[in-house]
């Protein structure tokens, strides 16, 4: 890629990234307006987790994919926020003492540390339900087929066949030495399913036939794996300050990762290969795919 192109993509991603972070914060600020009754604590817990943190990779992917098909930005943003609500709920629950027992997330205290365990469980459950409320709301799309399909596929990506199932696999893997196919499968469920959905949601919004979605799913699958490798690299060698959470937890827990299996150099190569494959899937598109290209290109350099 010519240097000018790289510069342009990086600038585009940086501008759109800032815009998406602001828009997601403002959307959550709106739907999580605290009530005046004893649920205040619950709303504060949700706001703590949902507002002002993270790179918002998933909404960014949905917005990037929605550009391919000229989907209205506000609608794509609502879908992106529904996905982010699922992601945030999963972080809250994964951080619980009975799961990863984490004190720090996105540079702040985890929800159970700041609000107590009971509120953390309920804040996660509430965001989980809100995600589906957002998608099924006619404001997200005027076509009920689209709304219903968005719900169906998100439920599949989040449930035992996707994210929640992957988290179970991850817990079961503690102290076990998984091989590369097993780690890949685990990652495809735990984080891959939701990342894939973030891109596929745009296909659903334009009622694209499932068989035509192959390149977009391919793109998402590749960057999902690339992100996981990047995450493992940060956990392996990064600083707590850069990661916004404690690092080297996987090694401490005796868990196999892409880095422990491949070594640092081969893991980095593999991530680079996945990124170029991801970009290759977009070859039929012109500049409307630049945001997705930029996300892929800079994926391995960023925490998310």
């Amino acid at each position: 890629m010519p240097v000018e192109t790289i510069d342009r993509l990086q600038q585009e991603l940086s501008a759109e990234g800032a815009r998406v972070r602001a828009d997601v914060d403002s959307f959550f600020g709106m739907i999580l307006s605290p009530t005046g009754d004893s649920r205040l604590w619950l709303y504060e817990a949700m706001r703590h987790a949902a507002i002002g943190g993270g790179k918002r990779l998933r909404p960014l992917l949905t917005l990037g994919a929605s550009r391919l098909f000229a989907i209205d930005r506000q609608r794509a943003l609502r879908v992106g926020c529904a996905i982010e609500a699922i992601h945030v709920y999963s972080l809250i629950h994964d951080d619980l003492p009975c799961m990863d027992d984490a004190d720090l997330r996105r540079g702040k205290a985890t929800v159970h540390k700041a609000f107590g365990e009971a509120a953390a469980v309920l804040a996660g459950d509430s965001l989980h339900a809100l995600a589906f409320e957002i998608l099924a709301d006619p404001a997200t799309h005027e076509d009920p087929w689209v709304r219903s399909d968005l719900v169906l596929e998100l439920a599949r990506a989040a449930g035992p066949g996707g994210m929640a199932g992957g988290q179970m696999m991850d817990l079961a893997a503690e102290g076990q030495q998984l091989d590369l196919p097993a780690i890949t499968r685990l990652q495809q469920l735990k984080t891959g399913a939701l990342i894939e959905y973030s891109v596929e949601a745009a296909c659903i919004m334009v009622k694209m036939a499932p068989e035509a979605r192959t390149p977009y799913r391919g793109y998402a699958r590749n960057i999902g794996l690339a992100f996981q490798i990047a995450d493992d690299l940060i956990d392996h060698s990064g600083s707590e300050a850069a990661a916004g959470k404690p690092t080297r937890r996987d090694a401490t827990a005796g868990k196999a990762t892409f880095v422990s299996l491949l070594g640092e150099d081969r893991a980095r190569q593999q991530a680079g290969f996945l990124v170029s494959q991801a970009i290759e899937h977009l070859s039929s598109h012109g500049s409307e795919a630049d945001l997705l290209r930029a996300i892929a290109r800079f994926a391995i350099e960023r925490d998310h």
Copy 2:
């Protein structure tokens, strides 16, 4: 009500109740077929909680309401199972050590006691997602408007504006002396919203205008409260064997209940009054409403 009518209603409820319990078990048995990988433990935890317990009040209400409008039984059953999945997930999470810390539920060990806390959190999360997957599946209804509306209203009933918000209020009430309006509001969110949805779902399935749903919502609201009072009475005076869980927990936790506020006799009277009001809401219907009448009539005599 003449004695013969009472007998007939009781027989009808008893027959349909047994049928619904078998059908719900068989539905969960089907959708929770264990996988051959390391998610087996998660599926076993879900099956432990979802199969073979409870009176299945919510699916029974959906089936009862679906008779009013001659809705296909299989479809109503799918919707009822989605609601039951939400109910079961909430029981799993409410039983966690950080919430009610319960060891026994429906006469069996709670999920975290039998499978560990991490699996309990994930089993709840998985059932939560599955509920929306069931509703958004075209097998539930051929009209996408109906599917999308079923999802929208269930998400509202389950989220911070409904069940999860009510559970937060309940936790916040510990050690506080709530008054009758506050307890009623808490109950309407914590258990009332999902019970109301169980009846309203049938109205959604026939695309009834929201303003025409008033009597059905009124019925559901009344029996929701009657059930809660019945539950408080069981907790107050019932045996652990009858309740399937430890009793007198509310008193121990210093929580105000309908029974502690009204006294046992007035609470019983109030429940009876709510039941007759509930039945009154069905006055425009003939024998097709008998199942709903029977549920109301015997509500206060049953654990649920």
